[in-house]
């Protein structure tokens, strides 16, 4: 009984179900209940700039809190709430604005459990939008998950489809550690099968999106569907790609990535983030270090350039890794190493 939901509806449903299940779950963020009851026509809040939390104010009222435009204040409040026994889910509109609350996140939330000898827990979730593709320019379009992945004590989630988004968000809310939850704006309208019941997906377990013997493509978030398109094209050429979606960058399921690379002998990592000290370079380095003897061709990274996200639509489209670029990278690595099976 497959029920179709968009990515956005899947997130909304996860929030609603967890708020119903656990009275200590509260939401806070900018405009998430903005406009509530204002004109009697809309009958509900704006639900944030893209309407993800729409409908929740009506159901949960004072557990959906609008905050001033002061990220360091409300992220600090969410973290403080978490260590005092509630489970806040904060929405920080664009990850690009996270910089003003790095101390709260990096030095406080990420460190409490460690510095208090395991006696404190910080069950906070920070939901945030990321990624290019909506003509929102350099300050609203970055894919900054590598920065958070770098910090021990944070868990970092980057879902690629509606089913995973719901299960990973419920897991994030129930998790006792701080979780940064990345939602790609362009994925909000993506549809997929989503069960009505609540369910969780464990962190640190990669998904096999597609099985194949010739090359491993590691991709996450929006890049998974780009990789799938590339794999379709390549399959017609007789190249079978295996696509692994880690789903969480911290913890990272290296075991599944290694298992796949041991089979295919080739790796292409696709990442919308900047190339330096990024997710792609991290995975490439780990595989080079731990699976070197299995590799039959050099590792390729397909990433954004080391440059701000351009405002020009033409340049923005060229900035984001495309199926064509992924396919080209795959063709390059299968041209080397062992014979392709097909």
């Amino acid at each position: 009984m497959a029920r179709r939901l968009t990515f956005q509806q899947a997130i909304n449903e996860a929030l609603a179900q967890e708020m119903r299940r656990d009275p200590t779950v509260v939401l806070l963020g900018e405009d998430i209940s903005g406009g509530a009851g204002s004109d009697g026509q809309q009958g509900d809040s704006w639900g944030g700039p893209l309407g993800v939390t729409k409908g929740l104010w009506t159901q949960f009222n004072d557990r959906v809190l609008d905050t001033p435009i002061s990220e360091s204040a409300f992220i600090g409040a969410a973290i403080g709430g978490a260590i005092s026994g509630i489970r806040p889910v904060a929405e920080l509109m664009f990850v690009d604005f996270m910089g003003v609350c790095f101390d709260q996140i990096f030095n406080q939330a990420a460190k409490f459990r460690y510095m208090f000898g395991g006696k404190a827990k910080t069950p906070v979730v920070i939901r945030t939008m990321y990624g290019a593709g909506i003509r929102a320019a350099a300050q609203h379009s970055q894919a900054l998950y590598p920065i958070f992945t770098h910090i021990p004590g944070l868990k970092v989630v980057v879902p690629s489809n509606p089913y995973d988004a719901k299960g990973l968000l419920i897991q994030a809310i129930r998790d006792d550690d701080p979780v940064i939850f990345f939602e790609h704006k362009v994925l909000y309208t993506m549809e997929g099968d989503v069960p009505e019941e609540s369910y969780t997906i464990p962190f640190g377990e990669a998904a096999y999106v597609r099985e194949g013997d010739d090359v491993t493509i590691v991709a996450l978030g929006r890049m998974v569907s780009m990789a799938q398109q590339a794999a379709e094209t390549l399959a017609a050429e007789g190249i079978e790609c295996e696509i692994v979606d880690p789903r969480t960058t911290s913890p990272l399921d290296t075991e599944t990535i290694y298992e796949s690379v041991e089979k295919t002998g080739r790796l292409v990592v696709v990442d919308e983030a900047y190339p330096r000290c990024g997710f792609a370079s991290d995975v490439a380095a780990l595989v080079a270090q731990d699976c070197f003897s299995a590799l039959t061709a050099p590792i390729r990274m397909v990433t954004a350039p080391h440059a701000p996200v351009p405002f020009s639509p033409t340049l923005e489209d060229a900035f984001v890794p495309s199926p064509d670029r992924i396919a080209a990278a795959v063709r390059e690595v299968v041209g080397k190493g062992a014979e392709v099976t097909a």
């Binding site: 009984m1 019941e197 369910y199 997906i201 377990e205 998904a207 099985e211």
Partner: protein
């Protein structure tokens, strides 16, 4: 076309709801060889499960149309079976005509039956029905399973019958409340399911815990049970593989679940990644682990079966077919000896606990023949 009666199209089967295509792995018989109905002719791989295509009729495999490695839509042509007398031109003509007119059912918007729901007491029970009329058959899955347990068997059994596969409480798409986890709750749900759908009497077929459930229905309501098909059934002796039960409940990841599911089969390659993933998807739904825990504590406390129903069965005037895979690692095959003396018992060599999947065509044929005899 006059030759049509002698020419049989061998097509891609549909195994389960979501299957729209399959990849021909290999042919198991040579072109030109004689085959009997039910012979295994080709191996097919789907994203969920691997299986064997059997001949729908006897004759000569005149043409292997599909090539190994090729992906064929459900209903698409694999080959042609015909007698010796059929001219090559007639076969060629049939293939050409088929290729010109065939529309894959998935593209034509025909997805086949979809699961439905019915309220039984205060629970919602999900079920899938194949067939419109004829005697009712109810298929009952085992511990941790769901109606997909029967994906290779259900449609094939539905010729002239109405075949229901249901999800027991705590499983699949049904409510997760299993009450006290007793067989009475499970059997009461099956009887309530029959009431809700207006089924007065039915053939019951159960796998593993579903077999014990079917027996419990038969002992409580013998007049409503036309026959019992017990496949690797629980309830026939105290032994059970507690590692499977506990491993299944504990498994939260692919890595933990894969070795548990391989215990179900003699041929471990049948456990595809997608099968493991689907099992985990069901299991990760809120309430499922608790339901399984409650059932296990009640039915299999300390790794032993709490209820042995064999003696009660002996006194019932209900025809019984017992089927077991010789290599069963969950419930010992010698539990088949506890079946009543009037039971027909079929042991299938070289197959494991989920014998209805591993030896799908053989098990389907055994059930089909048994039900036909009971209804005759």
């Amino acid at each position: 076309m006059t030759t049509e009666t002698q020419v049989i199209k061998l097509t891609m089967p549909k195994w389960g709801l979501s299957m729209t295509e399959g990849r021909l792995v290999s042919w198991l018989v040579e072109e030109g060889s004689t085959i009997r109905p039910g012979d295994e002719v080709a191996e097919v791989e789907t994203e969920k499960i691997n299986g064997v295509v059997e001949a729908p009729a006897g004759g000569i495999l005149r043409r292997r149309v599909a090539e190994p490695g090729q992906v064929i839509p459900v209903g698409g042509m694999l080959g042609i079976i015909a007698d010796e007398a059929t001219p090559d031109e007639a076969i060629q003509e049939l293939i050409a005509e088929f290729e010109a007119t065939f529309v894959p059912p998935a593209e034509a918007g025909d997805t086949g039956p979809v699961p439905e729901q019915v309220t039984v007491g205060d629970r919602t029970i999900r079920y899938l029905r194949h067939g419109e009329d004829g005697p009712a058959v109810i298929l009952i899955h085992g511990f941790g399973g769901d109606l997909n347990t029967w994906l290779f068997n259900q449609e094939a059994l539905a010729g002239g019958r109405t075949v229901y596969a249901l999800d027991l409480p705590g499983h699949g798409g049904s409510s997760k409340d299993v009450g006290d986890g007793s067989l009475d709750v499970l059997a009461g749900t099956v009887a309530g399911f029959m009431d809700a759908l207006g089924i007065e009497r039915a053939h019951l077929a159960g796998h593993s815990m579903g077999g014990a459930t079917a027996m419990a229905v038969a002992t409580a309501h013998p007049e409503r049970v036309a026959s019992l098909t017990l496949i690797a059934s629980a309830g026939l002796g105290p032994e059970i593989n507690g590692d499977f039960i506990e491993g299944f409940i504990a498994a939260g990841s692919r890595r933990q679940m894969t070795p548990v599911l391989t215990m179900l089969f003699a041929d471990q390659s049948l456990v595809t990644r997608q099968f493991v993933e689907d099992t985990l998807r069901s299991k990760r739904i809120d309430g499922v682990d608790q339901a399984l825990r409650t059932l296990a504590d009640r039915l299999f406390p300390g790794g032993r079966q709490a209820t042995v129903l064999a003696p009660a069965l002996a006194g019932l005037d209900v025809p019984v077919l017992g089927i077991w895979g010789r290599e069963d690692q969950i419930l010992p095959v010698d539990h088949a000896n506890a079946l009543p003396s009037h039971a027909r018992v079929e042991i299938i060599e070289g197959k494991g606990h989920s014998v209805q999947m591993e030896a799908a065509s053989e098990v389907t044929r055994l059930i089909d023949r048994f039900l036909a005899e009971v209804d005759a």
